[in-house]
Symmetry: C2
Subunit: 338 residues, 2 copies
């Protein structure tokens, strides 16, 4: 079929096909391997494509095949280094496999996530990576109805048919609390900001562990809806020490809060850990540099990104990954601050 062009001078598959002396559809198959093509033709087409500098038009491919190579990755926030590490890992896995990760930032807002999802799904993505399970019912429906393979990151569930990679936030919260108990602290505060579900799960771990030890004091649990930051960590530590001077250890729910708390303690002239112990969560860059070095829980965000991406690639390839839910290990990292 001959076609007249209103075209841009762009090199199309037709040009490649002509140069290789084959039909357009054969050129397509030779380049993208939809179906068997003779080895000699494949070579000829690939050479022609390389020589002409052919670049496939992703819009046309998406339109014709009802699938793009895009993979939206929805994370709550880029200012949390946790998610930057996660995104790097995801990118490292997906990009070489021919997929285009598209970063979407939800700002911890389910409504915003729903909007992003709606927009991204219009692009007919190859797959989908999202953070956690906390979303609007509409968003859930969008994912389900789209038929796009989806892997959930950071948290896990046993629900059948749900593919996820994460770790037990609750258990990780417990472990650090237990460590503080083991060290002999008895007035252990918990400080959290940005009260997303994972934060609350860690709080749950903290609470349960202290209750089991008979040391739980609700007044030592500070949950702030504000955005997590060093400044907030400092402020909350100060508040805590002023209103509850008996506090002898503070478990900050995030390393940035803990950094701020540690520095706040310095400002107040409180010795760490002798007057007050400080613990963090996530083991972000710099925690080992603090003075004293920060005890924290190292979370497997890189592995989550890698394994989540790998699982998604399997789903895209039509395989059924087993297990469908992967729970990874975290690591208690004991340093000088406790």
């Amino acid at each position: 079929m001959v076609r007249k062009s209103r075209s841009t001078g762009r090199i199309t598959l037709d040009d490649v096909a002509k140069a290789a002396g084959v039909s357009r559809i054969t050129a397509s198959r030779a380049l993208h391997g939809g179906r068997a093509v003779g080895a000699e033709l494949v070579a000829r087409v690939q050479q022609a494509a390389a020589q002409l500098g052919y670049i496939p038009d992703p819009a046309a491919r998406a339109l014709a095949s009802a699938r793009s190579t895009q993979v939206p990755v929805l994370v709550p926030m880029l200012s949390n280094a946790l998610f930057v590490d996660l995104l790097e890992a995801v990118h490292r896995m997906l990009y070489p496999a021919g997929f285009q990760p598209m970063i979407g930032v939800t700002h911890y807002d389910p409504a915003e996530e729903e909007l992003l999802l709606r927009n991204f799904l219009a692009h007919r993505p190859a797959g989908l990576l999202v953070t956690g399970f906390d979303r609007t019912e509409a968003a859930r429906q969008l994912i389900a109805n789209s038929g796009v393979p989806c892997v959930y990151l950071m948290e896990t569930t046993d629900a059948p048919g749900v593919h996820c990679v994460g770790f037990s936030q609750t258990a990780a919260g417990s472990v650090m609390t237990q460590h503080l108990l083991d060290r002999g602290y008895r007035h252990i505060a918990f400080v959290a900001a940005q009260l997303d579900p994972r934060t609350l799960q860690r709080a749950e771990g903290y609470r349960a562990t202290l209750k089991a030890a008979g040391c739980y004091d609700a007044r030592l649990e500070l949950l702030s809806p504000e955005r997590s930051s060093m400044a907030l960590g400092g402020r909350l530590l100060e508040e805590l020490v002023r209103t509850h001077p008996e506090v002898d250890a503070v478990f900050f729910n995030n390393d940035d809060l803990a950094h701020g708390g540690l520095l706040g303690a310095h400002r107040l002239g409180l010795a760490v850990p002798s007057r007050v112990a400080i613990a963090g969560f996530n083991d972000l860059a710099g925690s080992d540099q603090m003075v004293p070095a920060l005890s924290t829980v190292h979370t497997p965000r890189v592995e989550i990104g890698e394994q989540g991406a790998r699982m998604l690639l399997q789903l895209i390839g039509g395989q059924t990954p087993t297990p469908s839910s992967i729970e990874l290990d975290y690591q208690l990292v004991v340093r000088a601050s406790t």
Copy 2:
């Protein structure tokens, strides 16, 4: 024209047009405003679209119009909070205007940037935001030949026809150096990592200012190709103090290095600023929380993002922004560490 469908049950513009009793092209124009359409028809079409839950297919739009709504934003690194702030600002401006910012991370690697550019340009983006001017010749050509409006961020140039928003890295480097001189320091070291062009420009400002004051000592200039990090900052401070004990001030090229340096000084038992003054660059979150609080240069990355995005929107709209080069102000922030 009637068309048989191999379709997916997706709601198309045809469905909307039918429901509104107009032709497909009129529906398209009513929704996207390419050309004038009667007010009553617009209302009817919009209502039909809303009622059916119509979502335009971006791939089809891109294919038919040779333009998508995507706007690649290429930044060197997400682990530098600077660029996260920049991206947030860009997103805030572009998204409500109907454009889809696509984050691309170059890892400070021109070859990787070129690859990203090649891939992104295949999507026929509406516009392009890139960091600085340091790229491969091929990348330059790609941008120029694509005809896609492009705004350069972080640095500025007077070259005609180049649209850019940034600040003078050199001058900002000078200002902090001058501040240290004014405070009476005479053995001022410069510590940098990740030697991108902007870092080198700041080094240039440092060098020129010290030379003018007759205080320049090349041995106090530490340029490390490693990735910037707190750990590196601590390590380099230690090295500096060991090999050049006369050093009385250190200008770290980035706040994260400075944080590490400050903490390194603590570990070594060096009083800040009396034994050694510490200065940073960028005024990242937490610099005001350090003990002592970190003197630094506040850089206008949020404004760069906003104004860069605004400029790009003008270019996309066919306007010619004046001026084509915007140089923004930075702020010397003097705190206790100097």
